[in-house]
């Protein structure tokens, strides 16, 4: 019968060395307990079997090979991509990829600088031909400039880049062609800040001229004819100056 005493004795048997003699209590127990005696015998046989495994010896040229290995290990290593490790190579590949992408992007976008941008830059943008006279019907130049500015801000740098390329092309004696058929025209939007501008309804009997410069020195002037609906004559006759809103609120 497997008792607590058996468990203790078997634990002692397991922990003891083969050559080591068990204590008298365990020996006494083994005499009376057949199960533990069988366990002891099988344990001793098993350990003898395992301990009886012969020692394997190293080959005769072990020392020589070891010396060669150590010498090889200490020799200066030749150049190898492995020396840099995977993270370094991955970082280099990433940098090359980003640089390549930026280069391709730069090449593909710069020649197609939109032609309409020319009309919105500072140096070559829309120039309102402002009449020098104090004609009340003349357009206020600053306000017009501010009205066109939101559109010209984001395209200004692109335009400059295109302009530089164009100058370079001219300098090299090459003709620079530009296809602006697929490029949309600049939308000149009214700014909210213009809402408070006082525009006299007594509009001048004078044409509005807008000069456009495409950056290559060729300027084009567009004149808008005056459109009259006759109301200004009525107001002039009444001698009143009417302040209206550009929003068209009457």
């Amino acid at each position: 019968m497997y008792k607590n005493e058996c468990r203790i004795v078997r634990l002692r048997i397991e922990e003891a060395d083969l050559a080591e003699e068990l204590n008298s209590e365990s020996v006494e127990h083994l005499r009376g307990c057949r199960s533990c005696r069988e366990f002891y015998e099988s344990e001793a046989k098993l350990r003898l079997l395992v301990a009886g495994l012969p020692q394997v010896e190293a080959p005769a040229d072990f020392d020589f090979r070891l010396r060669a290995r150590i010498a090889n290990d200490r020799a200066p290593s030749s150049f190898s991509l492995r020396n840099f490790g995977v993270p370094s190579l991955a970082a280099a590949a990433l940098i090359l990829l980003v640089a390549g992408f930026l280069f391709v992007r730069n090449v593909t976008t710069s020649p197609e600088a939109p032609a309409n941008v020319v009309a919105s830059g500072k140096s070559s943008t829309t120039k309102s031909e402002v009449p020098s006279s104090t004609d009340p019907g003349s357009v206020i130049p600053g306000k017009i400039a501010s009205a066109t500015s939101p559109n010209s801000v984001d395209t200004g740098t692109a335009h400059k880049r295109g302009e530089n390329k164009q100058l370079l092309a001219v300098g090299r004696g090459r003709t620079f062609a530009r296809d602006s058929s697929s490029v949309g025209a600049t939308v000149v939007r009214q700014n909210t800040s213009i809402a408070g501008v006082q525009l006299p309804l007594i509009f001048p009997v004078q044409t509005l001229s807008v000069s456009l410069d495409d950056g290559s020195g060729i300027a084009r002037t567009i004149s808008f004819p005056t459109v009259s609906f006759g109301s200004e004559r009525v107001l002039t006759r009444a001698g009143n100056s009417f302040q209206g809103s550009v929003k068209g609120d009457w």
């Binding site: 397991e14 922990e15 099988s42 344990e43 046989k45 098993l46 350990r47 079997l49 395992v50 301990a51 009886g52 495994l53 012969p54 020692q55 394997v56 010896e57 190293a58 080959p59 072990f62 020392d63 020589f64 090979r65 070891l66 010396r67 060669a68 290995r69 150590i70 010498a71 290990d73 200490r74 020799a75 200066p76």
Partner: protein
């Protein structure tokens, strides 16, 4: 340590007195001499441990060529780390620990690669699924040498079916004859864990070797 370009250059004149190399010098003294550049002292250390380590790794991996290779790697690591060696434990514990780590690493590599050998074809890492490839021959044999050889083969095969966590302590205890304290230091576990694993390993072996007991 200067750079070597030839195998022959590794043999330097002894920088330490002959008393270190006469065989009575402790392992620590030999390693200390190795640290100062005395390669004869290192050769002495190698000659002391090469068979033990080769045998131990062979019992762990059941592959002689691999065991020799790993034994060499063990000594290369000892040589390389001679400057960092601390004499807090016995040198044998230190070198067995390196060897154990290399052997376990190799076993795990094999497991990943599903590397199968002729002897390992029917063996499994899980003891419960292990099958007997070569059952004992019950017929009477005429030569006791053959009986012993077959028994040894069976024992080695049974050991190789043990999970690595049971295999290492069993070999260290029952084949190499290390103490529980040494084994716990080599394996980096507590003594209680070592005893428990050895007990389990013997239980597995007893089941496997029932026909021979």
């Amino acid at each position: 340590m200067e750079t070597l370009t030839s195998v022959d250059q590794i043999t330097f004149p002894s920088a330490v007195g002959r008393d270190v190399l006469d065989g009575s010098a402790s392992d620590h003294a030999l390693l200390e001499a190795t640290r100062t550049g005395d390669n004869d002292a290192f050769a002495q250390l190698v000659s002391r441990y090469r068979n033990q380590i080769t045998s131990y790794i062979y019992r762990m991996t059941s592959d002689y060529d691999g065991a020799v290779d790993l034994t060499q790697e063990t000594f290369v690591r000892v040589y390389r780390a001679a400057d960092r060696y601390q004499q807090s434990h016995a040198f044998s514990t230190y070198i067995y620990r390196i060897a154990t780590n290399l052997a376990i690493s190799e076993l795990r590599k094999r497991k990943r690669r599903r590397l199968v050998s002729l002897t390992g074809f029917f063996q499994s890492t899980d003891y419960a699924e292990a099958r007997e490839f070569n059952p004992p021959d019950e017929r009477p044999l005429q030569d006791t040498e053959l009986v012993d050889a077959e028994r040894r083969t069976a024992v080695q095969r049974a050991i190789s079916t043990l999970p690595e966590k049971y295999r290492a302590p069993l070999i260290l205890r029952d084949v190499e004859g290390k103490s529980y304290d040494d084994i716990s230091r080599i394996l980096g576990t507590s003594e209680g864990t070592v005893k428990s694993r050895i007990s389990r390993a013997r239980g597995f072996l007893r089941e496997k070797m029932r026909a021979y007991l």
